[in-house]
Amino acid sequence: MTALLSPRDRESPSPRDRKSLERASLKHRLAEKGVDRVLWLLVPGAVFVVLLFVYPFLYGLQLSFQPKGGGSPFQNYITFFSDSYLAETVWITLRLGLPAALFNVLASIPIAFRMRGRFRGKRALTTLLVVPITLGTVLTAEGLLAFFGPTGWFNRIWMALGADEPAKLTHNYWGVLFSLIITGFPFAFLLTLSYLSGIDPTLEQAAATLGASKRQRFRTITMPLLAPGLAVTFCLSFVLAFSVFPSAVMVGNPAGETHVMSIAAYETALRDNDFAMGSAIAMLMALVMLIVIGVVLIWRATLYRGATGGKG
């Protein structure tokens, strides 16, 4: 090869050439690690996250340690846990968020399972299942009030069937739970469906030819491959449900059994003008969510999370 090089190529590079060579190789080395000009596209997003999430979060965090009435920096947190009306909100919110998320995830499995294949009317059915996402909580709450209310259709039929008094399904725990299910289910369903269609259907066929019954196939093939996705779906559904606010006011009993954390934070900050205490409640809300998500993700880490062979 060297014989083919022209004499000029064989000369050692001039200092300037060498400098440009080094610059090129640095660029090359960075590109190898994934650092190149495309990264600039991340800047707007990063600025956005810092300005609209990181800064307000840190601001709220430090604010929560500056109680309105002075005293220990932890005074707001001490107040929260010593005031049973406030401390109870943690339990009230969990009691709504956990069952709603669990129900949405579990209910989405069999429906997504059925919806995997191609069949007539699939698009119409999917649309029907997903529509509630577009309605917004307020419209859903109004619908719930009209349907489940004391003079709504449900209770008219209920009474016609011979009940002594109308069933109380709004302005209490059940109203909020229904609302969380209606608005949260489409989300859980779409996620579960995409995770499920990411599992290669020939795996189940293979299991069938090896003698596994429907139930065994679900237990040994589908569930283990779907579980990590379900964990993520559960976390996202839970976060959505845990931060419930409008429906807890509209179809719940915001002073009593649906006095959730977000209402407590709102009331403290904007009604009682105690921003520091409001921030403390918001921080505790985040903490509870992180604990639940943490537990779920630790469980998820024990599962198989590799390829599932499908198109997803």
């Binding site: 003698g211 019954s213 590799g306 390829a307």
Partner: protein
Amino acid sequence: MTGQRFAELHLDHVQRAFGDTVALKGMDLTIKGGEFVALLGPSGCGKSTALNCLAGLLPLTGGRITLDGKRIDDQPPEKRGFGMVFQNYALFPHMSVRRNIGFGLSMRKTPKAELNRRVDEAVRLVQLEEHQHKFPAQLSGGQQQRVAIARAIVLEPPLVLMDEPLSNLDAALRLEMRTEIRRLHQSLGLTTVYVTHDQEEALALADRLVVLRLGEVQQVGSPEEVYAHPVNRYVAGFMGYRNMIPVTVTSQEGENTTVHTEGGIKLVGVKREELSDKAVAAIRPEDFTVVTEAGDNTLDATVEIVEYHGREQAVEARLKNGERLHVRTNSRLAPGDAIKLKVPVERVLVFA
């Protein structure tokens, strides 16, 4: 390890339609215990449909399947107990090689000691001892293929179904695995139905070939029968390359048929189908011999392109009427040579 032998698996007018399209149009076939049968055809010919119908993964829309007289087409796949090797292997990604292979046994609640013994045996049979604790994603394509085969045969199924098992492997590995599959078949005697679009693979592996086209069986026979004596023009064209020369039939005497090409070159061949006026003469490139003297069934041609293939040459020659011929010969030729090509009467197959 030997399969539970059966005497006869019978497909009786098996039909499968998808909506308005009929993928399999009434397939009749009898498979004897211990046989290696290949279903061969291009994509869309119904071969995979037939296999899935046998496995029970697709319900029939007509006909029946009986195993030693007992009807099985109404049973789900898990009740039939046929082993199947999938084109993409379909290994369970969350299980080790050993658990993949032992899956069928554990579904049958086989006692642990026996399960381990049989998995050991299967692992040894496909030479995966070193890899038995790995996961499928850590294996190469050929190793995954071995796992898929071991998983299907560890249950000693009466019938093993293979759906293009070699199509995802590179050429060298494909040859190796082909020999491996044949060796396993010979040593275990497992009745096998093998689906492929590769005629070379089918000829090499199978005891019997079933050539399919558009959902219909074209020919059933031993590799030699199908290769040398195709029953129709389609099979003749599909089984290895043949020159297809359009001809006009001039006289028929029993099997022997005299035809003339465009431009009036006379050829005598063997009739393989009922003929009308127009026909084609099918001749394999290797059935020509280069001769020096004119005579019967001898064509004058000019060499145009010569490819060196080691022992022989692949030659493209042109007849006087402009028709191109492919010829394989040991004679050394050069472009521009005027040659005479002789072909025996029994090697000229005349199809409608």
